[in-house]
Each structure stands twice: as C-alpha cells, then as structure tokens.
Amino acid sequence: MHSVTAIVVAHDGARWLKETLAALPRQTRPLDRVVGVDNGSRDGSAKLLTEAFGSHNVLTMPRSTGFGEAVHEVLRRLPPAPGQEWVWLLHDDCAPDAGALQALLWAADHDPKAAILGPKLRDWLDRRVLLEMGVTVSRSGRRDTGLEPREYDQGQHDEIADVLSVSTAGMLIRRDVWDELSGLDTSLPLFRDDLDLCWRARAAGHRVLNVSDAVAWHAEASARRRRRISTSEEHPRRLDRRNGLFVLMANLPFGAFARSVLRNVFGSALRAVLFLLAKQPANALDEVAALGSVLGHPWRLLRARKARRNGRKQSWPAIRRKLTPPGAALRRLADMVQGFLAGTGPVDSAGRHHAAADTGEEDGDELLTDSGGVQRLLSSPGVVLCLILAAITVAAERTLLPGGLLGGGALVPVTGSAADLWRLYVEDHHAAGLGSGTWAPPYVAVLAGLSALALGKTWLVVGVLLLGCVPLAGFSAYAATKRMIPYTPARVWLAATYALLPVTTGAVAGGRLGTAIVIVLLPVYAALAIRVMAGSSRAAWGFGLLLAVGTAFVPLVYVLVAVLGGLAAVSFGGIRRGVTRSIAIGLGTPIVLLFPWLVQIAQEPGRILLESGLHDPRLSDPRLAAESLLMLSPGGPGVPPVWATAGLVAVALAALLLRRHQMVVAIGWGVMLFGLLVAIVVSRITVHVGGAIGEATGGAVPVWPGVPLAFAATGLLVAAAHPAHRITEFRAARGLRRLGAMLIVVVAFATPLAAAGLWVVRGADGPLRHDVADPVPLLAAVESAPGEGTLLLRARDGEVGYTLLRGRGPLIGESDLEPPGEASARFGAAVAGLASGRGGEYARTLASSGVRFVSVPAPVDPALQRALDSEPALARRSLSEAGGLWRMSGQVTVPPPAASGSALHRGWLWAQGALLVLVLVLASPGARTTDPDGDYTDAPAEEGPRGRRRARDDKGRNDKGRDDRARGDRGREGGRRGRGGEDRGGDDRGREETVPA
C-alpha cells in the first residue's frame, strides 16, 4: 500500500510555518513519515520544526541551499519505505487542508499512471482566491495559470485535471519516479523547477494531475518577495524569465525549439522596446539579459537538451496541447500596448506567480483605450460625430477628386517619399534649385516621420492631414474637452462647430497644411494645458512636444501660447506647487527642440507671422473687413460668408448672462479677445518675402490671421459650451425660459449646420486642387542626365516667375530654403534676358547652371513662347495645350555637389534626435508613482481565513476599476506596476537567502 513521506522545507518562514506544521497532523490520511529541512533560517523556523517533528527528523542545511537540493539531500539520506512510496513536498508557506492528502491519494489510486499530483492552491490571505490549478507555459516561456486575476474559487474549475505541471507546493510524487527522473533539476534553484520536473515526467510517460478536492493555501512568499531570496545573485524577475526560457528550450523538440528561439528573440526585443518606452529600463534590461543568458551558454543548453532527449519527441503532441495557445501571446502584446496607452505601463508578470488585479485608475481617452468592439465604438457620440464630419468632408471635397498631384495655394504639389524628405532634412547642402546651404526647417522632419509611419507615402499623410482636417479637428476637439465639458451634447456641438470654423475650411481651400495641423492640435493643447496647470510634468513634456510640432509649422502658435502661458504662470504660479515648473517645461521644450531654426526665424521677425509652404499674396485678403475679423473669418479662399458664424458669437454672448461658471466663461472670452486682437494686428501686416510672385508690391504678402482666429474661436467655444448643461434646466422650466433655451439651441446649431451646408454647396477646392500635373514634364525627366535641371517659367500678371527643378518636383519644405544670393541674382537676370528674347549669352548662363530643359506650363504666354522660340540655343521639343518644352542644345554644366559634412549640423541633428527621444520618454505614459502592491506589504501573518474582510476590500476596489476589468483579461499574467522597476535596488540582490518558491 501507500506510504507517504512529507518533506517540509523551511527558510525564514516562521510567519507561516506554524500553520503549515499545524496542518500536517490534522490530515485525515495520516502521514507515515515527516522530515523537516531548515535552510539556515534566522527567524526560529528551525526551532518550530524541531518542536513539531523532533530533532532527529530535522535536517539543517546551509543558507544558500535551494529547494531541490534540500529535497535531494533528504531523499538521499532516507531509506526507501515499503510499498508504493510517495513523497509529499511542502513549502513552509503552504498549509494543506485536512483532506488534501487523502484526496491526492484517492486520485492516485484511480489513475495508475499518475506519478505527480498537486492540490488546488488558494491564496493564503484571501482564502477563497484561486492561485493555481495546474500551470502551463506559453511558447515564449511565460507562466500561465489560465485563471482570471483574483478569481474566486466557487468550484467552477473543479475536476481531476490532466495538466502540464503542478507547483512543488503540495506536490505529491512517487518516489520511484523521482529517482527515475533524478528529481528536481538543481541547476534551477528557483522558479520553473516544477515545470521542468513535470515536463520530464510527462515525457517519460507519466501523468501529472491536479486534484481539485485537495486544497492547500499558499502564500507564495518568495515570488511575491515577502522575503529575501538569494540562491542566486540575480533579481527574481530576470531569474524567472531566464529559467522559463531555459526550461522551454530544453524540453522542446528540435523544430519547435528553433521556432521558439526565433520567436523569443523577436518577442524579447519588442518587449524591451515597450519597456523602454514605458520608462522601465530595468525591466528591459532583465528581458534582454535573460534571453542573452540562455542563448549565451549554448553548451549548458545542449547538455540539458541531451539529458531530456528520451521521449521528448513522442510526448510532444500531447504536451503541445497543454501549452498556452499561440493567440495568447498576441493578446498579451495587445494588452501590453493597451496598458501603455492607458498609462498603466506594460502589464507583465515575470517574477510574479500571482495574477494581481488591475487597479489602475480610469485614465486617458476612452476612445483611445477602449477596445470594446465596433458596437461600442459606434455608440460613442465622438465617433459618430467624426463619421458625420467625414461624410460632410467627402461631400464638400468631391471637387478634389484625385487626377494628379495634390497641390495649390500654399502647398507645393506633393511628391517624394519619406526618404526624400528625410534626406532633405539631414543633408547640409541641398541640390534643389540653385543649391542652398540653409538647414531644412524642422517641419520637414515631422512630415518625414509621419510619412515613414504611412510606409513612406507623403501624399497619404498630407492628404489625410489636410483633406481630413475637418473630421480630425472634430475628433480632437471632442476628445480633448472630455474633462472640460461634462455635458455631451455641448461637446458634440463644440466639436462640430470647431471643425467647421471658417479657418478650417479656409485652410483646406488654401492648402495650408501648417494651419490644418495646428487646428487639430489646438484642442489637445487646451486639454494638456489644464493638466499642466495642475502641475503634471508629464503633461508638460507632452505639451512641449506637441507645441514644438505646431510651432515648426506655424511659429505664431508659440507666441500666442507663450503669452497665455506667461499670464497663467503669473496667476496660478503661486497657488499650486509645480505649476511654474510645468509651464516652463511646456514652453521651454519647443525652444530647445527647434533651437537653430528659431534663431533663424528670430533674425527675420516677419517669418514668425508666416507658415510653412508657399507664400502667395492671393491667399489672403489684404483689406480684411472688421466684421470678418469679429466673426472669426480669416479671409482668403474657402471661407463662408461672414454671417455663418454669427450664431456662435451670439451664444457665447448669451453665456455671459449666466451667474454660475462665470470664471470659465470669462477666461474663454479673455482668450477670444486676445486672439482677436492678435488677429487684427497681424492681418494688417504685410511681410516681405522672397519667392512670391507679386514683385510689383515688393514681394509683400499680407499675413493670414487663421491661427489667431482659431485661438479666439477655441476660447469662444469653451465659453459657450461650458455652461451649456444648464440648457437642460431651462428646458425643464416653463414659459419664457423654455423658449429661450430652444432659441439658444437653434442659434447654436445654426453655426455648424450653416458652415457645413455652405461648404458642401461651394465645394472645398480653392487654389487647392488634386489634379496638378507633375511640374517636371515626363520628357524632361526622362531625357535629363542626373543633376541637370528643368527651368519652369510661367508668365503671370506681367512678370515671369521661374523655378529651377532638378529632375523632380519640389519637396515640401524646399521652398523655405534660402537660395544663394549672388548666384540667384545672376540666374534671375539670365532668366529675364531669356524671357525677353533679346538674344545674347543668357541661355549659356542658364546652361552653365545646369539647365537642360525650359518648360512653360499651359497656358503658354505667346510673348514668352516667341522669345523662347527666337533663342538659337533652345530647340523646341513640344508645344501643345499642356504647355511647351524647350531643350538646351550644346554643353550643359551640372554644378558639382557642394562639399558636405558640417560637423555642427550633424552634431545638432544627433542632439535634436536625442532630445526628442528624451522628451518622448518623459512625455509618454509609463511608471506610476503610487504603490499598488500595498495589500501585501504590511499584511500581518495572521492565522485563519479572513476571506470576508478581504472580499469587502476587494469589492470596493473592483467597483472602482470596473472598466479596466471589462477590458478583458489583460491582467491575467498579473499587473506589474511601475514600482516594480524602481523598487528593486541593490539591497534586493546581495543578500543571500534561499526560499522555496
């Protein structure tokens, strides 16, 4: 018959040992032999063991002994017992229920092949919480219990289950099997030794059962770091990860092993990057080091694989079914990303056995973090609004059906890929045109980055940002006002009105990419500014980064924000701690990130008022009427009539009459008046720029007051929408008030409806078109040698505009490069001479600048055509409706590429990149500063179940975190909160302790 030897291994476990030892005599199936091992405890565990078992039954081992070693030592000394001998392994923190052994043996009786049996493990403190019912492992080496976090045991999993492995806590193993398998692998002193043993047992043809009728309570003291461990110098997290990988790779058959290596190399790299982003460099290091440690000792791995060769392949099909399904890895990755976005940091459970509930606060934008499926998405008013705005956009932009390149107004025809933009940004000397030595403006880098995200398709990025500006602005305004305006209909109204402002439609029609981006970013600025005002430095970094992006496109944004920020610092700086610092971060980041470019801008103050792209005087109204400005209409192409926004102003004025919320309304109106003042001032200024047709007026371009008016509109909208929930009160009232409420609603919604209607009727195009031909004719592109250029001439309003293109159309940003002064003056004179048709050496001058073709796009000016025809050095290649093309005969000198390699520029680019990464890391969500592990830290080792109290506590917490729970099982592996990273210090490591896991 059966003979059972219980082995209790203790190590500094006096807190739990008493209860464990008390549980042994209570077993309904009495134990035949009991042996205690004390691994050099310092807290009197040895005394407790001696008291319970007698001194001859207690073995004392050194402090650095591992669990497996201790068991080996006991069994080496213990003579075999008669009959079928079983060994029952118990940790000092694992108290079996009275009927546990009986149930285990009963199960063993019914399954002769069962060699290893384990009880159902429940939590030590919260006695009804399930910990384990068999453990499996994923293909990436992660431990998986298959249980929900904090799942209560209601018997829902009860059965005798054939599992991959069971924990060594309460493991009942046949002694002959132990001997056959040579027991626990002593090279795995901690973590996963159980998995390894069970895997080997299964490979040898035995069965591993989890018996749910047998219950044991387990404190998981070392895994939860309730006590120091140090059979190894390494951190438990890294140790756990390494052992997990090692066991997996040692036990897999070859094919699966090779796949596993690949999978883990990529997986670990990805996880390490995510950890880095989440500002948990220690975790990232552990992740990489663990993999490195496994793969870095190939001989050890080979030895282990050799030792496990027998039966590995034959048992694989059965074991494979027990592994976590492959989809789980993806789901975990998704959870990780989701958690990152939600600001809780990557959820990861390495080093922890227990699945902890996610107590992260409800954070961020519900739309961003919510993955609740299509239905939930569609029921969100923000998404519906966005879809409606998208439909309006499509209807209005029907006139912009693609037939060529997108361009017009301030936008050069969009050509080139992300790589071209990137090259433009990093190169010291630009070959475009006559060459230029100026550094490319930083918005080129922003566009290059976005294009890279769009797989290099710049046209896609520009198209989405510019043409999709209206729905994007609506979405951004809706999402950003979540905390500002609790009343959803008001938010919808605000978002729709904001998205359809005259500035927005004007920006689309005028091809003003910069303004379009700023309009999308402006609500985000407002939302972040509120958090900056609360002193959040992470929000301040994010604010600074986004402000830098906006400033790169439209420098005026920075001035506006800086003035408001300065005012806010003066008003709130003294009230809340850290506000001044946050504001300084927010306003300082753009200056640091854009430094050399800002210096350039500051040297020509007029450029502060301009935005990225082409500067065409026809895009703005030099005599903008006063009523247009007051009605937030910036003039230029694509703006609706002045009265379209009257409703908005009227509603905002009405908001002033409310007694409550006067503070917000006053601030909103203050922003409005400030923005309006700036708009009036800038709209009266003309800036002299080179490169604009309009030389008659000295190249003066009237400033377009779009961005200040967008600012003003933002203030006005907040002022109007914030107290809007009182409409419901009024509507509930009777008589005049009710009538007034209805009137206000009608007037308020008149603005977005009128704007949308007018936009759809008039169409979205202005100067912006989607059928611009490639500026370099195909023939010229084909026949030009590399470096040879095409001179593009266009006679307009009595003057001849020209640009020199080298083999391709201009990239976005190339128009902002400074041409070399003297060379371009000489070139300009030569072009004028050529266009006059007076003969002479002008054509030769052009040829010496690398002009191979002269192209005149339609409509071809007859005088210009005659002049070009009369030039002997030019041979006409074609002349048609589409334009004319002349080829320079004879020698064409391609200017040699200028020597590159300005150390200063290169150094700055690296510095800028490093600063950007730093700001990104500081701004991105990651580590929390609160300690979510509080439950266990100070929990006293009380005896007896205290499930009720714990359950109560949990209930409160669960209600709070309901949303997170609803997101699914992302906490399955246990949520490791940020403290995990920082917490682990040197003191964790050096101490030598041994602990049963």
């Binding site: 082409l614 003042l677 009595g798 339609a858």
Partner: protein, 490 residues
Amino acid sequence: MRRLIENRFGLLALVLIAMGALFGVAFVSRPAPVTQARPQAVRAPVESVTAVCPAPAGSRVSVVTPPGAGGPGSATLSAIAAPDAKAADKKAGEDPGEKDAVIDRPGLLWQREIASGGGPLMVDGTGSMAAGLESAQTARETSGAQRGLAGVRCVEPGADTWFVGPGPAAAEMTLYLANPDSAPADITFMVYSGEGPVLSERGNGAVVKPGGHRVIRLRDLAPSPLIMALRVSTRSGRVAAAVKAVLGEGRGADWLPVAAAPATRVVVPGIPGTAGKRELYVAAPGETDTVVRIKAVLEDGSYALKNKETIEVPAGSTASLDLSTGIGGQPAALVLESDVPIVAGLKITGTGARQDVAFTAGADSIDLGSVVADAQATGGKQVSRLVLSAPFAPATVEVRLLPAKGEAPAPVEVKLAAAHTQEIRLTPRGSKDAFSVVVRPLPGSGQVYGGRVLDEATKEGQLVTAQPLAVGRIWALVPPAVDAPGVVLP
C-alpha cells in the same frame, strides 16, 4: 468694480465694450484699397539677331542697324552653317570665307549685289549691331518668267510660320527652308486650300539638319490648290522659311511675306495707292466655319466695303475675294475680324502689259518700332512708299531715313488720325543714294500698322514689290523675373 463683475450684465457689458473697441481698431486700421500697378517690363536693346536670306543669289542684299546702341558689335553675312561648324572654322584659324562680309557701322545701310549661284546667306549680328538689325533681299528682273521686283525680309528662324497666297496650281510656288541652329529642325507642312486641308500622300514633313537648307516645290506637296495658306511648323528645332511665287511669263513673281499667326483680328497693312488688282486671301485653319467681317482703313476713314462686307471661310480652308473695286488706287489697310482665328494675305498686281505682282499679309502692330532695310536702291529709279495706318487710335510716328553714306536727314514726324491711312513717298532731298527706313511710334500712340511698297515704272509695265512692316528687333521687353517656387502650381 467687483459689483460690476458680479452683476449678471456687467461682464456682458465689458465684453461688448471690448468687442466694440476691437471692431473700431479693425475698422480704422483697414488699409485703403491699393490698385496694384502692373509690373512694367524694362526695354532693353536686343543683343543678338540671326536672320536668313533665303535665296540672295542675283539679288541686292541690304543690311542695316539703326544707330543708338553703344558698345562694340558686328554683323556677319556668311553662307549658312551650323554655329558649331562656324566655331570649328574659327578655331582652325581659317579666314572667314571670302563671301563673309563684316558690317560694323550701325546707322549706315550696307548694300551689295550678290553674284548668282550659292545658297542662302545668314546675317548674324551681335552687340551694338544687333539691336534692330534688319536685312532684306530684293531682285529685279526685266524679262523672263521672273520679271519684276521681288523682295523679301531676311527672316529669323522660328517654330511656326504662316504664308497666305496663290496655290501651286496658279503659280510656281517654292518653299525655301534653312536651319542656322545647332539642333536639327523637324518640320511639318500643312496646306489649307480652297477646298480644305490638303493631306499629302508623300508625307508632309522634312528634316533640315543644322546648317542645312532645302528647297521644296509645293506642287509636289499639293498640286491642286489655286489658293492656299501654308503653315510651316516644327516639331522640334527652328527653321527659317520663305516662299516664292512665280505666276508665270508676263504675270509676275514675288516672295510671300510671313503672315501674322492666326488671330481673331488681323490687320493687313501696306496696300499701295497705285492702280491694279487687289485680291484678298483669308484662311481659317481651325475646325469651325466662319464669316470674316472686312473693314478698309483708307485715307479718308474706315468703313466696310460695299457688297464686300464679309467673306465666308469654310473650316480649314482658304477663301479669296477681289477687292480691286473697293480699294484699288487708294492706300489702304484691311481690318479683318472673325469669331475664330484667321490668317490673311493680299495680292497686289501692278499695271501694264506685262504685269508684276507683290504680296502683303497680316502683320502685328509695330509698337517698338520697325526697320525696313531696303527702301530704295542707288540710282533712284524706283519709287519707295510707306503706307501707315492707325486703324484704332490716333498715333504719331517718327520716320527716319538711314542712308548708305553721308549724314542722315532729320527724322520726320507723321501724325495719323484714328482709322486713317496715310501714304508717304520716301524721297530724301537731293540724294539718289540708297537708304533704309526706321519707323517708330512715339509714346502715347495707338497701334500702328504699315507696309513699304517699292515700284518702278517700265515701258512694259509697272514692277512692284511690297512688304508689311515687321516688328523691329530693336528693343526687347525684359519682364521682371521672380524666383517663385509657386510657379509649379497652375
């Protein structure tokens, strides 16, 4: 203050006051409307001119540059050759060929009889000799099929040239092509006959290599048209084209002048006041039939001709109309207006037993002045007339004669009333020397059109040749050129 803010209407009042103030600021600061001055092109002397005299053998070649431009400069008259070949010649140290003549005195007419035999000549002027360089060839035959005065401007190579006149069935029409450029010229011909466009079976193209020239009999292209408009255009490169019409023994011969490119309003100037037949040719090269309204600008005003108010021109074809009874014997210009672009030309027939013909054609107004190289040959047997018209607005024109030698006489100012034509007989006092004419509208003048007619009375009949005044290559308008990346946008 505090009460004001806490009052329900206080904040509203404050905001309204602020809005009012901002409105006031915006209203007051609104700039006055500025009328954008159209940028003025700068007048600059032409720096180089190349012209080709199509067949100067046996003719008198006249070359002149009006005085004015300073600095060095010279013009060369040489056999046609590609610029590269010429440069190579110079490099080799060879003398410029014997035929090469170097002319370097602006303001004086250079005239020479060219021996028969030999191809086209090229006039190449640079520097001070370029601004207004004008050259012409005039042949005088007193017998044979070629009897008559036949003169033509030496033309600059171009990409698109129009001729309007009799067809190959009515006259021996010869097309002279020359390419003085360094790129080959790929030429296409298009003939618009009285019956419509003629598609030649033998192909309607030719390639003239750099420095090369070709002579093409139009009969080979289109044998049947009695009247025609000919378009010589190049797909690539440029070509100097000229057409000679020989109507046959006793019926005269002359060159067709280059007609102005198709336009909806064409002025045919330079019709002399001598007697003889006048036949108008109008072609509508487009794809729409049209009715062309004809108005004559005569010495006593401008009016439509009785029974000849309009002429119908079918699409893609040429029509003719005899205007002898309308404008015969009076100096005139014709203003033709149509809804579609047209080109026009006119045949002038001299009087006498043996006739001679001359041709004029639609021309551009001479805004920047015009030069006629060959106004009168030495000896003074020929009579030179200038027919000037101001069809739309009054104009004042300065006429200056440039003699072959000696002092130039003082310029004469001619006042032209609106819608009137004036004929001026060019006779320098006391001199029988050859001279050239420079015609320059004075500032403030309306559009001026004109022509020069040269005739000589002989016993057998009058010899005549004519040429419409072409815009002189004196000045070029240099437009302001702006480096504008925005030109990539339509």
